[in-house]
Structure formats: C-alpha cells, structure tokens
Amino acid sequence: MTEQTPQSQLSSASKNGQPLLEVNNLKMYFPIVKGLFGKISGYVKAADDVSFLIQPGETLGLVGESGCGKTTVGRCLVRAYQPTDGSILYRLADGTDVDLAKVDGKELRTYRTDIRMIFQDPYSSLNPRMNVFEIISEVLRVNEMCSPKEMEYQVADTMKQCGLRPEYMRRYPHAFSGGERQRIGIARALVTSPRLIVCDEAVSGLDVSVRAQILNLMEDLRRDMDLTYLFISHDLSVIRHICDRVAVMYVGKLVEVADANAIYTNPLHPYTESLMSAVPIPDPNLRDRKNRIRLEGEVADPANPPSGCYFHPRCRYAKDVCSVETPVLRDMGNDHIVACHFAEELELTGVRMS
C-alpha cells in the first residue's frame, strides 16, 4: 500500500471511549535468506499493514485460514516478535500511552505482566520439568512481584479461580489431563492480574466437552477480572460464541472488521462470505443449503502474493480492477470496516440464524 491509512480515520470506535490497545499499520516481515552468505532474497509479509483497536473489556476475534498471519499479529502484541514497522499503542491504567513496538529490554518487562498469552497446545506449552507451582509462579518470581510467602497464596488463589485444586500444586504437568493443563496455562496467564490476554487457538486442541468448560471459564474470568481478550482461532463457531467483534485476515492483511453479529449475518467481504459458507453446521436438516460457496484453490503465498486484491484469484465476484488495484480498508458505517472495491454493490449472504 502506498498511502498509510491511520486507524483513527477508519474507525469511529475510538469515539466511544479510550481503546486499550491501538495497533497502527503493524508490519512483520520475515526475511527469506538464500545462499551461503545469508543474502536476503525476499520477505514473507506475515502481517502487512494491520490496524485495529481493542476496547477494554471486549473480546476481539481474529480469524482466517492457516498461514494468514493471525498468530504473527498475536505474537507481535506480546512482543515475542519485534515488529518490522508500525506501532502498538498500549494505554496504561493511568491513561498514558506506550508504544510497545518501540520499547525494549527491561522496560518491556513491566508490560509483559499486563499482556499475557494462552497457547494452543496444553502439552507442549508447559515445561514437564517444572511442577504446577513453579510454572504458575515463574512470572511472579522473575518480575519480583511478591514475596515467596505471598506467592504461594497467590498461586493457590489463581488455581482455585481456574477450577484447579490448590492441593495439586506440587504435581507435574504429566499428571493432568488436557483440559486441566489448559487450565494451568490459563492460571499462568492470570496470576499477574493482566489486562489483556492473547489467546492463540486456546481451545482448538480440546475435546468437545472440555472445550465447553474452558470457554465458560474464560467467559467467567473475563467478567470477574475485567479482562480483555484477543481471541485467535480458525474455528468460526467458537469465535461466534465468545467474541464481541471479529477481524478477518487474509494473507497478512485485514479484510474485514466488524461487530460479531454483522460479520456473521451480513458479511461485506467475499472472503468472509466464503468462510461462513464453509462452516459445517451441526444440524443435518440444513445440509442441503443452497448457494454454498466452495473456494477454489489455495491461500496465496505471502512471499509472493498476487497483484491487486490478494483474494482476487479465488474471488467469484472479481472484476478487472481487482487484479490491478489494492483495495483499502474503508468504514461502511456502524464500525464495519472492509477492504473490497465492491463492498457497496455486492449482496453477500451470511449465516442464517436459527
């Protein structure tokens, strides 16, 4: 994109209160190294000009196919990656802004306790050589947040909140089931009383009955502890269930951001429409839905994206202009932001509500 579009122009959401996090033109390029001398032959644009807001107390969903850059965005927010460009403005409790993309080293540590992360795989994200107490309290110890005595209370308290029995504090992760491990992961994120939690596919690896328990737990915690979630998932039914607003990504770019209801019932981007149409609905009476859209082909290569609108080779509404001109994110009213040349003209179908 030649012209930078500041977020403030795109969204009037900032009017109804101060956002907790403001991501502006975030770029994360990974170099492709070739040859013996590490010559950089190109970049994988995993996140390319991503801008969005997260309001305090809301759950923002980030969806897209694998390889679309949703995890990269999440990792940039917790600063597991150093973004190539762009800013991540984080509003502190006292109202001042910090640009997390610029902060480094020691200074960053204070914000790491504010923004926490829950990972997908409850098996590989817990160190098998540490017991539950050590896993959960590690962040407290590293940041010297409380005395060893208090630590025990705090860990026990957090464990209780997450539905774990504090008596099991000295056990090792292998003694727990998948659902319990995910609770440990959640407890580890919560123990610092964070304000924002990035949940990267936090329930994707769980069984149906356990998933329901974890989703309910996360919902309760959000209410009780005043949390804000960025919920990254490819599972549109889960996103539908837990999110207030949803952002759809395609090959490193945001293509649509809107209120969850609007995204599902009235999508404005053809990619969102085809995603919605592909979700299997657990009702056999609806299996012969008409006008189902089957996306042809594969997700574009982020190292070598198509010209113009990245989605145009797979888009069934594509016209000549789509392969030439890159669409810009525009506000279509009601905070419904979309990047499509024909957002006004297309009549797209969403999920029919039961």
């Binding site: 089931s177 039914s237 299997p280 657990p282 996306l295």
Partner: protein, 347 residues
C-alpha cells in the same frame, strides 16, 4: 441385518484390550455396527473413546500391546449375483497374505495427519504407484498412468508436475488429496477416514468433504468417517455411532441423532458445542472429564458424568437396547429389566 445385500462390513461385539504394565485397558468393549455400500457411517466421540482403534481393527493394524480379544469382523464379498463370500477379518493373521490383499484394495484408509502418513522419502507418484502395482498386474507405465488419473480425479492442479513432487512440497489440503488419491487408486469398496479433515482449514475441509461425497456417489463406496466434529457429522453422515469409553452408546441415522437423541451423553454432547448459528450464551457443560482408561468407572462408564444417573448405573453394565430397527441405545434408562430390581430394593 446380515442378509441385507448392501452390508459391506459387519462388526459384532468387537473387544480390543490393551495389555499394559499398569493393567488392562478395555479400549473397545463390545462394539457392534455395520457399514453398507454407498452409505457413510460416522463415528463420533471424544479422544480416548476407542474410535480410531475400532477403525484400525478393520484392517488388522491394531498396535501392540492391543489385541482383538473377542468379536467378529466380517467382510462381505460379492462373488456372483446371489453368492456372497464372508471373510472373517478378525481371524486373519495380521501379517498374512490374505489381509494384505485386502488392505489398500478392498478397504483403504486415510489418516489424520497427511504429513506423517506419507513417506517423506518417496515422491507422491511413487507412493500411489506402489499401491497400484501391489494390487493389480499393472506395469510401471500403467501404474503411473493410473496415478496421474487419480491425482487429476481428486482435483490436484497440474498432476503431471505434482506426481514427481515430494510430500513436503505440497500444502496440507493437497497432501490430503494425494492421500485420498492413493487410498482410492484400487477402487476400494470401503474407505476408512480417520479424522481426515481435522488438521485442515474450514475452506479446505469443505473441499475435501465435497470430494469424498462425490466419489462415494460415483463408486457406491462405503465410508467409515471418524471425527469429533459434530458439524462435519451433520454434513456427511447417513448413520452415526456415538462412542464413549469403548462402547457405542447410541447408534442411529443422522436425523434421529441430532433431532431426537436418547442417550444422556449424546444429548449433553450436542448441547455443549458452540454453534455458528446461535448467539452468545452460556454453553452447557458435561461435568468432569473422560476418566483415565485405567480407572474405568464401574457399571455404566458414563454414570459419574451423567445428569440422569440412577443408583443402579454404578452397579450394572448397560446392555444395548433397540428402540426401533435403526436406533440402539446403550443405557439403563431404557432397560426395563434393569430398572425393576431397583424399585423393589427401594420399596
């Protein structure tokens, strides 16, 4: 049901136990179902309920220390118009010639992880050709021809190029297509698909499901589809078997399972899934979790989590009760003979 011409495979009272140092795990504990040609049977259940092991038993590829201890798996093979041959798969030697001639030819299987189930050392074409050459008299060129045809058939673009590619060069969806091409290269009569779309994106999943349904229509193939995604079940199943800890707790056609489920587990399972069509509300939860296979609850294994558990449920193992011809439930609620003694004891 056995005299039905369409029955491809009949599984009766199958029991597979794993003999480990910590004790015997009853992974599959008396499972009965049949698969018909042209129909899709979906097996659903949470992890550890025995659905994959059941599927593997159909090919005699149950890993040690697992063993088929009891039960029958019968493959019906049509010989002529009114003659059918019965092959007792459960009695075949796992490494013998007979079962090997069935594997990949009459019954073939697609696995969940297309990356680990394709060999990284051979090209996609080589792997498909291997199956073809093993089961038919085709020479190298004919086998290659067949492989190309199959790759084209499953919708892989530029098959003449892809055939000489190694699996790591393909995307997840393409790999799964290549797996399907391999599985179908000898026109199997039964396709076992063990979570074939779980690792894929929704859009790719929809493509693969479409492909499988198309193939089924064309070849009148029977499909055993294993999944934990009830959405997928609602899309493709003709019949559904819900499994819990080694038992089929409910078996019926897909409409009955979704619209009028009878077993408490099926009912709770259906209520605990977030739906894309419904707005935000609290999900109903099945309390507790799937118990460890070593600590299998007494009586009905679901009773500690069941909302309708009766005192007797912890004592008596339920039998399979037929509610009607095509609806079986494995629950004491429907077993009048089991209920009676309780009332007598109570009075």
């Amino acid at each position: 049901m056995a005299d039905n011409n369409n029955v491809l495979v009949q599984v009766k009272d199958l029991k597979i136990h794993f003999f480990t140092n910590e004790g015997t795990v009853r992974a599959v504990d008396g499972v009965t179902f049949d698969i018909r040609s042209g129909k899709t049977l979906c097996m659903v259940g949470e992890s550890g309920c025995g659905k994959s092991v059941t599927a593997r038993a159909l090919l005699q590829i149950v890993h040690r220390p697992g063993k088929i201890v009891d039960g029958n798996i019968v493959l019906y093979r049509k010989k002529s118009h009114n003659q059918t041959e019965e092959i007792h798969i459960s009695e075949l030697e796992p490494k013998g010639r007979d079962i090997r001639s069935i594997r990949g030819k009459e019954i073939s299987m697609i696995f969940q992880e297309p990356m680990t189930s394709l060999s990284p050392l051979y090209t996609v074409g080589n792997q498909i050709m291997e199956t073809v050459r093993l089961h038919t008299r085709a020479d190298k060129n004919q086998a290659r021809e067949r492989a190309l045809e199959m790759l084209n058939f499953v919708g892989i673009p530029r098959p003449e190029r892809i055939i000489d590619e190694y699996p790591f060069r393909l995307s997840g969806g393409m790999r799964q297509r290549a797996m399907i091409a391999m599985a179908l290269s000898c026109n199997p009569r039964l396709l076992i698909a063990d979570e074939p779309t779980t690792a894929l994106d929704v859009t790719t999943q929809a493509q693969i499901i479409d492909l499988m349904q198309g193939l089924q229509r064309d070849y009148d193939m029977g499909i055993l589809f294993i999944t934990h995604d009830l959405g997928v079940v609602a899309e493709i199943a003709d019949n559904v078997a819900v499994m819990y800890l080694g038992n089929v707790v409910e078996y019926s056609d897909v409409y009955t399972i979704f619209n009028d489920p009878q077993h408490p587990y099926t009912q709770s399972l259906l209520r605990s899934i977030p739906k894309v069509t419904a707005t935000r509300e609290k999900l109903e939860v099945i309390r507790g979790m799937v118990p460890s296979p070593f600590r299998r609850p007494s009586g009905c294994p679901f009773h500690p989590r069941c909302t309708k558990a009766m005192p007797i449920c912890s004592e008596v193992e339920p039998k399979t009760i037929s509610l009607n011809e095509n609806h079986q439930v494995h629950c004491l609620l429907f077993d009048e003979s089991a209920k009676k003694p309780v009332r007598e004891m109570a009075s």
